[in-house]
């Protein structure tokens, strides 16, 4: 099965669960994609969509966040796009070692590394007028 599903959701946390559900349902139509990998993709999408919603919230933007699922015979690619001010994905601050007492002072900053961990490919393209995160999972792996 191949096709595209595109969502335009308000940048409100109430819509996160729906985004996860739709992406999970789309990914489940992919041949041989194990439930564990679908769960991983749902989590990665939650991370990307959370970042997008926060980017809009911090900037006072009322634009909607776009989540686009592109399903082919061999893979699913989910793009999460926002209109926030962007950031440099290569200069994310590193977190203190887990044994350091300072580690507990960092409640955020885990999302991008989780996305890389959970997908086959995570591509972050960020500019002054927005960020697009592409999350790619290959079927049959």
């Amino acid at each position: 099965m191949a096709g595209i599903v595109e969502l335009h959701v308000p940048a409100l946390p109430e819509y996160l669960q729906m985004v996860r559900s739709v992406v999970g349902a789309a990914a489940s139509t992919g041949a041989n994609l194990k439930p564990e990998r679908v769960a991983d993709l749902r989590l990665a999408v939650s991370e990307a969509t959370t970042n997008a919603m926060e980017a809009h919230g911090l900037s006072g933007l009322e634009d909607r966040v776009t989540v686009r699922c592109d399903l082919s015979a061999s893979r699913i690619e989910v793009e999460v796009a926002d209109c926030g001010p962007g950031f440099d994905p290569n200069s994310l601050p590193s977190l203190p070692d887990v044994n350091s007492p300072d580690r507990l002072r960092h409640e955020s900053g885990l999302g991008v590394s989780l996305m890389h961990h959970l997908t086959d490919e995570t591509i972050v393209e960020s500019h002054d007028d927005g960020t697009a995160v592409r999350l790619i999972v290959h079927f049959g792996d």
């Binding site: 599903v5 595109e6 969502l7 335009h8 959701v9 308000p10 946390p13 109430e14 819509y15 996160l16 669960q17 729906m18 996860r20 769960a39 749902r42 989590l43 939650s46 991370e47 959370t50 919603m53 926060e54 909607r64 887990v98 044994n99 580690r103 507990l104 002072r105 960092h106 409640e107 955020s108 885990l110 999302g111 590394s113 989780l114 961990h117 959970l118």
Partner: protein, 126 residues
């Protein structure tokens, strides 16, 4: 698809149940712990600590999804109770939730129990 008109999805977000067992305040969460529900956990923990309850058990048995925002609220809870000489124990057996701790290497700084009985059997350090 444009979903801006849709009604309330918040019913799927986490709910909380509070109880006190031995000297532990047990906060049992159900649902999903993410950007929508994490602020409520944060506020609940702030309220407990302000009321002098520094020994908390967060029961994640009923949580079927947690992302890094949810994890961040639990990190904050641990820091908050420890700063008051207290402690935080977690009850969690859901592999998908445990995996988030593991992927972030944070399973090493939390104490996990398989059920609430086990957690509240832990002596409170005064």
């Amino acid at each position: 698809m444009d979903f801006g008109h849709l009604a309330d999805w918040s019913s799927v977000l986490s709910d909380f149940r509070r109880s006190v067992r031995n000297q532990w305040v047990v906060l049992a969460l159900t649902g999903e712990l993410d950007l929508g529900s994490a602020p409520r956990l944060h506020q609940t923990v702030v309220g407990e600590v302000a009321s002098g309850h520094h020994h908390l058990v967060i029961d994640l048995s009923g949580v079927d999804f947690m992302d890094s925002t949810g994890l961040g609220s639990i990190i904050g809870a641990l820091r908050r109770v420890r700063s008051h000489g207290g402690d935080l124990l977690l009850v969690c057996t859901e592999q998908r939730v445990l995996r988030v701790f593991e992927m972030c290497d944070l399973d090493r700084i939390f104490v996990f129990h398989v059920d609430v009985d086990s957690a509240v059997g832990t002596p409170v350090r005064v």
